[in-house]
C-alpha cells in the first residue's frame, strides 16, 4: 500500500451527521432563504443628521491625492473638482483616511501577502485557497444573481411607486417589471419590452434588444430605464472548465430612454470590474454597492513561484485594488480617489466595497467612496446607508453553504459603518460593532435615529437571537439596549420592523412569533409570544390590527406545504391566529422566497400571492372578510417561469399579471 492509499484509509472521519444534514436540508427545501423582513416608514433621523452635517461642514476632504499614479484618475464625466459641497468621505475613528495612495496600497499588500502562495491566491491548492474567502462572495452575489430568492425579502405595507414591494418606503429596488401607472416596462433576458397599461387591454408598444446583458433587473426613473446586470463574461462557458482562468465578476449598467415608448433607445453603457452587491433608487439618484475582490494577477507557476508571486503582490498598485469603470466601451479607468477609500481599523475581510451614486440621466457622472475591506451587507434608509461586514462565519459552513447565509465576523462580531446620503453623494458618519451575526440587510432597520439589528448567534453569544439597538454618539454607533434569549436554539425566519415594535419569527419545530416593544430603545421589552405549527417566512401588516404570515406548515391531510395565516395583533401581549389557509401537501408559497410575488390591495382587502405545486404555478387570490380567509386559485405558469410571475398594482385599481411570456390584466371580482 502506498502512502497516499494509507492516508485515505487512515484519515479519521466521524460518523455522518445525518440529523444535522436532514435538518438543514428540510429548512432549505421548505424555505430556501428564511429571513424576511419588512419595514416601516422612517421618521427623520435627527441625531444622525446633525452629526452628518457637522462632519460635512467641518472636514472637507482635500481634493488632491499625493502620488496617485494613473490609477485614481477621475473619469472625464465626473463632476468638476470644484464641487466641494458634495465631497464625501470625512473619515475618522474606525474608518481611517489613508495618508496617501502608497499607504492605501500598503494596507492592501500587508493583508494580501498572507494570502499568496506558489499557486497564486491560496493554499494548499490554488483553486481552493479562498475556500473560506468564499463566504462573502456567496452572500455578496446572492442579492443580485439569484434575485430575491437568495436573500430576505420585504415589503412596505404598500408597493413602491413603480409597483415593487421594497424594504424601505421611498427607496426603490430593482425588479424585472416596473410601471409608472400607465406604461409598464419588462425585462426578460436581454429583451426590454414596453406596454401600455392605461387602456382596457394591455398593449405592447416597443422592444429593445440589450445585447450582451445577463442576469438583469431594472429601475424606472422618469423616462429612463436603468438596467443592472452583467455582460455575461463572468459566467464560465464550460461549467467544468478551468475555473482558475475565470474572470472576476463584472457589472454592466445600461440606461434606456423610453420617452418614446414605441422606440426604446439605448443611451449609455457603463461597465465595472466589480460585483454588484446592491442597487437602490431614491428620487432620481441611483446608488450601487460594488465589491472588488482580490485582483487578477499573472501568477507564476512551478519552481520559485512562491517567491515570485509574493513579489507580484508586493508590487501591486492602487490600480490593481480599486474598481475601474468603462463608459461606452472606453478604456477602463479608476473612479475613486485614494482619500475616498477608507482603511478600516477592524480586521474585516480583504476587498474593496464601493458606494457609487449617479443620476439616471448621467450614469457616468459618479460620486464614490469606498471601504478598503469587505462590508457587503447594504441597508439603505431614506437618508442613510449602512454597510456591515461579514468577515467570516463563526461556523465554517454558515457562509459557505448558500442555504444558511449567516454572516458574522470570525471573531463573532459584526462591524457596521454608517453613511449619510445627500443626492448622489455620501459621507461617513461613524461605525459600531455588535457581538453576534447579522444575517442579511433585512435584519437591519433604522427608526428615529436608532439602528436596530436582529442578531443571530456567534462564538461570542449564547445560542439564541437578540434585538440590539444602537445610536450615534460622536463617530460611534453605541449599543444602547438589547433583548436576548429570543428563540433559544432556533433560527430567525423573518423580522418585521415598525417604529416602536419588532415582530420576529424564529423556528425549529414550531413558529414562535415574538412581539418586541422598541418604543424605548434602551430597554426593548418582550410583549408577547405566539406558538403555532409551521412558520411564517414573510409577514405583511394589513394595519394596526392584522398581520398576514406566509409560510410553511403541516397540512390537514398530512405532509407539509404552504400556509397563509391571519394574525390578530390588536393586543400585542395576546397575539392570536384568527384563521389559516392550507394549500395542501407539497405546495410552496413563493412569496416566502420573494415578496415581490406578494401584492396587497388595501381597497379590495385582497391579497394576491404566487404559489406552486410541482412545476405548476398559481395565483392565489385571498380575500379577508370578518377575520376569515377566502381563497381562489388561478393556474398561470409552469416551470422555471413561475419565478417571473408578478402581480403589479396600478393606481386605478387594476392589476397587471406578468408571466414568462405574457403581460395582461388579471381579473379581479
Amino acid at each position: 500500500m502506498t502512502d497516499l492509499e494509507r492516508h485515505w484509509e487512515e484519515l479519521p472521519v466521524g460518523p455522518a451527521p445525518v440529523d444535522a444534514i436532514m435538518r438543514r436540508a428540510r429548512a432549505a427545501a421548505g424555505d430556501r432563504e428564511p429571513t424576511r423582513r419588512t419595514r416601516a416608514s422612517l421618521k427623520r433621523v435627527g441625531v444622525l443628521a446633525c452629526v452628518a452635517a457637522a462632519f460635512v461642514a467641518g472636514t472637507l476632504v482635500a481634493q488632491q491625492d499625493s502620488g496617485s499614479g494613473g490609477s485614481t484618475r477621475i473619469p472625464a464625466t465626473e463632476p468638476a473638482q470644484g464641487d466641494a459641497a458634495i465631497t464625501p468621505a470625512a473619515f475618522h475613528g474606525e474608518l481611517q483616511r489613508p495618508e496617501s495612495c502608497e499607504r492605501l496600497v500598503d494596507h492592501y499588500v500587508s493583508r494580501a501577502v498572507d494570502l499568496v502562495g506558489r499557486h497564486g491566491w491560496s493554499s494548499p491548492y490554488s483553486e481552493l485557497g479562498n475556500l473560506h474567502a468564499a463566504f462573502d462572495g456567496v452572500r455578496a452575489n446572492t442579492e443580485r444573481l439569484s434575485g430575491y430568492a437568495g436573500y430576505a425579502k420585504t415589503t412596505g405595507a404598500r408597493a413602491s411607486e413603480t409597483g415593487t414591494n421594497v424594504q424601505e418606503q421611498g427607496v426603490d429596488e430593482p425588479d424585472t417589471v416596473k410601471t409608472d401607472g400607465e406604461l409598464l416596462v419588462r425585462l426578460r433576458g436581454a429583451e426590454l419590452t414596453t406596454y401600455d397599461v392605461s387602456g382596457d387591454a394591455v398593449a405592447e408598444l416597443g422592444r429593445l434588444d440589450l445585447g450582451d446583458f445577463h442576469d438583469g433587473e431594472i429601475l424606472l426613473v422618469g423616462d429612463t430605464v436603468v438596467a443592472l446586470g452583467n455582460d455575461g463574461t463572468r459566467a464560465p462557458s464550460d461549467p467544468y472548465g478551468d475555473y482558475e482562468q475565470e474572470p472576476s465578476p463584472q457589472t454592466r449598467v445600461l440606461t434606456v430612454d423610453i420617452g418614446e415608448p414605441t422606440e426604446p433607445a439605448l443611451l449609455r453603457t457603463v461597465d465595472y470590474d466589480a460585483a454588484l452587491l446592491a442597487a437602490r433608487q431614491h428620487d432620481d439618484t441611483v446608488r450601487l454597492t460594488l465589491s472588488k475582490g482580490l485582483p487578477d494577477l499573472d501568477f507564476a507557476r512551478g519552481r520559485g513561484a512562491a517567491r515570485a508571486n509574493r513579489e507580484l503582490v508586493e508590487n501591486t498598485t492602487v490600480a490593481d485594488w480599486l474598481p475601474r469603470v468603462s463608459v461606452d466601451g472606453s478604456e477602463p479607468s479608476g473612479f475613486l480617489r485614494c482619500a475616498r477609500v477608507a482603511v478600516p481599523r477592524a480586521e474585516i475581510g480583504l476587498a474593496t466595497t464601493a458606494v457609487v451614486g449617479f443620476t439616471a440621466d448621467d450614469p457616468a457622472g459618479l460620486e464614490a467612496l469606498a471601504v478598503a475591506g469587505d462590508a457587503p451587507l447594504t441597508y439603505e434608509s431614506a437618508d442613510h446607508l449602512y454597510l456591515a461586514s461579514t468577515g467570516g462565519p463563526d461556523f465554517f459552513c454558515r457562509g459557505f453553504c448558500s442555504f444558511d447565509g449567516i454572516s458574522g465576523a470570525v471573531d463573532g462580531t459584526t462591524h457596521v459603518y454608517a453613511f449619510s446620503l445627500d443626492g448622489t453623494g455620501a459621507s461617513y458618519l461613524g461605525a459600531g460593532e455588535v457581538e453576534g451575526t447579522v444575517r442579511d440587510r433585512w435584519s437591519m432597520d433604522e427608526s428615529d435615529g436608532v439602528l436596530r439589528l436582529a442578531v443571530g448567534p456567534s462564538s461570542e453569544t449564547g445560542n439564541f437571537n437578540s434585538i440590539v439597538t444602537l445610536r450615534a454618539a460622536g463617530d460611534e454607533l453605541v449599543e444602547v439596549g438589547r433583548i436576548d434569549r429570543l428563540g433559544v436554539g432556533e433560527d430567525i425566519k423573518s423580522v418585521r420592523w415598525f417604529d416602536g415594535l419588532a415582530l420576529l419569527v424564529t423556528f425549529r419545530q414550531v413558529d414562535p412569533l415574538y412581539a418586541v416593544d422598541l418604543t424605548t430603545p434602551r430597554s426593548p421589552r418582550l410583549l408577547g409570544e405566539l406558538k403555532i405549527p409551521g412558520f411564517s417566512s414573510y409577514l405583511h401588516p394589513l394595519g394596526p390590527m392584522r398581520v398576514v404570515g406566509v409560510g410553511t406548515g403541516p397540512q390537514p391531510g398530512g405532509g407539509s406545504g404552504a400556509q397563509l395565516g391571519l394574525f390578530d395583533v390588536t393586543d400585542l401581549s395576546a397575539l392570536r391566529r384568527l384563521d389559516v389557509h392550507s394549500y395542501g401537501a407539497g405546495t410552496r408559497a413563493r412569496a416566502g422566497d420573494d415578496p415581490r410575488q406578494f401584492t396587497w390591495l388595501p381597497e379590495q382587502r385582497t391579497m394576491l400571492t404566487v404559489t406552486s405545486r410541482g412545476r405548476t404555478g398559481y395565483v392565489s387570490t385571498v380575500s379577508i372578510d370578518r377575520g376569515r380567509l377566502g381563497n381562489e386559485q388561478t393556474q398561470v405558469e409552469y416551470g422555471d417561469d413561475i419565478e417571473q410571475v408578478r402581480l403589479v398594482p396600478l393606481p386605478d385599481g387594476k392589476v397587471v399579471l406578468v408571466t414568462g411570456e405574457d403581460v395582461e390584466f388579471f381579473p379581479l371580482d
Binding site: G14, P17, A28, Y125, A134, V138, G392, D394, F395, F400
Partner: protein, 170 residues
C-alpha cells in the same frame, strides 16, 4: 417518510468517501466535513433527481465538485476560520489535520484537472464512466489523465506500488 429513510441510509454510506475525497481535493478536515454536508443537503433537496439519475454516484460527486467550485468562484477573501475545530469535528482532529497536510503535499504537484481524476477514479473508486460523468469529460480523457497523473505521482515517490490494472484502464 420513506424518502427520508432512503436518504439517511445513503448519507451514512456515502459520508466517509465524500469527506475523504474533499480532503484529497484540498480541503482541511473541517472544511471537508462541511463540504460533504453541503453536498448531501443539496442531494436531499434534489433527491428525486439523484435517485432518478442514470448514475447516482457520478451525480453526487458532480454536486461535490460543484460545491467546491462555487466556493472558489467567489474570489473575495474573508477572515481565516478560527484555529479551533468545532465540536462536531472528527474524533481525532489533530491526526486528521496531519494526514490532510501530508496528502496536500503529496498531491500538490498535480494540476487541478489531473487531481480531480485521481481522487475520483483512484481513491474514491468511481468507475471510469462515473468519473467521466462527474467531471463532464469523455472517458478517454479520464483514462489518459489518470495514467499521466499516476506516472507523475510514482515519479514523485508517492505511489510507488502502482496498480497497473488501474493505470491501464478498464
Amino acid at each position: 417518510m420513506e424518502h427520508d429513510t432512503e436518504f439517511a441510509d445513503y448519507a451514512r454510506r456515502a459520508w466517509g468517501s465524500l469527506v475523504r475525497s474533499a480532503v484529497f481535493l484540498g480541503c482541511s478536515p473541517h472544511e471537508a466535513e462541511d463540504l460533504a454536508q453541503t453536498t448531501l443537503v443539496r442531494c436531499y433537496t434534489a433527491w428525486p433527481s439523484v435517485t432518478g439519475a442514470d448514475n447516482r454516484t457520478a451525480y453526487v460527486y458532480r454536486i461535490l465538485l460543484n460545491c467546491l467550485r462555487d466556493s472558489r468562484r467567489r474570489r473575495w477573501w474573508g477572515e481565516r476560520p478560527t484555529a479551533e475545530l468545532p465540536e462536531t469535528a472528527a474524533p481525532d482532529a489533530a491526526a486528521a489535520v496531519d494526514v490532510a497536510d501530508a496528502v496536500h503535499r503529496a498531491l500538490a504537484g498535480l494540476s487541478k484537472r489531473n487531481r480531480d481524476v485521481v481522487v475520483l477514479r483512484y481513491f474514491a473508486g468511481l468507475t471510469e464512466q462515473q468519473t467521466a460523468d462527474a467531471l463532464g469529460v469523455p472517458s478517454g480523457t479520464v483514462k489518459s489523465r489518470l495514467s499521466r497523473s499516476l506516472a507523475q505521482l510514482a515519479a514523485d515517490d508517492h505511489l510507488t506500488d502502482l496498480r497497473p490494472d488501474l493505470a491501464g484502464g478498464s
